[in-house]
């Protein structure tokens, strides 16, 4: 029965990774009006968040890294990778931090909000490294707020999806 579980998890992670790639692609079709080129809302990080709450940090991290590498090969290019990686890793670290506090009254909406905010902070830091100008920080307040708002919305969405997906794909 061990093999059956492993296959189930593998299929789930594969479906989640492809979902993340599709979301990332759709997101790249709608550039933000106020942001720098390459900066995105980070909706695909919601997928990592869902995996985090179902299977824990290690599989979620794998989904994130595979998504970033595959989108780089498919369409983002190398400069896009810097932005997605900086945003993705910082966002993931923040989400894991809140996930660890899940028994202390912090839920998935909190993790998603922290993730959204740090996703955009990470992207601004990447933009600073690439462009070398302080001007990028003027975007930061707007991006923190928009990260929080998208984080709340996707967090509520993830909160609805996680129990349902857990029933079908979850461990045990």
């Amino acid at each position: 029965m061990m093999d059956h579980k492993k296959v189930k998890q593998m299929v789930f992670l594969a479906v989640m990774t492809s979902a993340a790639i599709i979301i990332h692609f759709i997101e790249s079709l709608f550039p933000l009006p106020f942001a720098l080129p390459g900066i995105k809302l980070g909706l695909s990080n919601t997928v990592s968040l869902i995996v985090l709450y179902i299977y824990g940090p290690v599989p979620a991290f794998a989904v994130l890294v595979i998504r970033v590498i595959l989108t780089a090969f498919l369409y983002a290019g190398l400069s896009g990778v810097i932005f997605s990686l900086a945003g993705g890793l910082l966002s993931f670290s923040a989400a894991v931090l809140i996930w660890r506090l899940r028994d202390k009254g912090y839920g998935i909406v909190g993790a998603s909000t922290a993730g959204g905010v740090f996703h955009n902070i990470g992207q601004i830091l990447a933009a600073y490294v690439v462009l070398r100008t302080d001007a990028v920080f003027f975007y930061l307040p707007v991006l923190i707020l928009s990260g929080a708002i998208t984080g709340i919305v996707t967090g509520i969405l993830a909160g609805i999806l996680v129990p349902r997906l857990k029933n079908i794909y979850g461990p045990s």
């Binding site: 809140i98 506090l101 202390k104 009254g105 912090y106 839920g107 909406v109 909190g110 909000t113 922290a114 905010v117 302080d134 920080f137 003027f138 930061l140 307040p141 707007v142 923190i144 707020l145 990260g147 929080a148 984080g151 709340i152 967090g155 509520i156 909160g159």
Partner: protein, 123 residues
């Protein structure tokens, strides 16, 4: 949504506000533009647009204009002229923008801020 999530959302909003205040401070210091106030065609005052100040222009006829420089913008705060057009003029913050009070012969000009009001000028 669990109850402590509210703290995270509040922290995010506070962080945005703090960063906004911080970057706003940098913007004001970096602005190299200046405000020039003319009275009867002569320079009455010239100073950086980044420094908040109030300039009062008064003459022996009793004409009075008060120019306020704040947040990188110049406005005509008060004037005792008849038409009050200058008081109702939009704030001047970009290169070449001006506020003119014709009855009192006072004009306020902004220059060298690096942000242009016009797309280009042929000379």
């Amino acid at each position: 949504m669990k109850k402590n999530d509210v703290f995270i959302i509040a922290a995010a909003v506070l962080l945005a506000a703090a960063v906004w205040l911080l970057t706003n401070g940098i913007r004001q210091k970096d602005s190299g533009g200046e405000v020039v106030v003319y009275k009867d065609g002569e320079v009455f005052y010239a100073g950086p647009i980044g420094t908040d100040t109030t300039i009062t222009v008064e003459d022996e006829l009793g004409n009075i204009n008060v120019v306020l420089v704040k947040d990188g913008k110049a406005i005509m705060q008060k004037a005792n002229c008849r038409d009050q057009i200058c008081v109702n003029t939009r704030p001047a913050e970009k290169d070449g923008q001006a506020i003119i009070c014709l009855p009192n012969k006072v004009s306020v000009e902004v220059r060298n801020t690096g942000t242009k009001d016009l797309d280009g000028v042929s000379e």
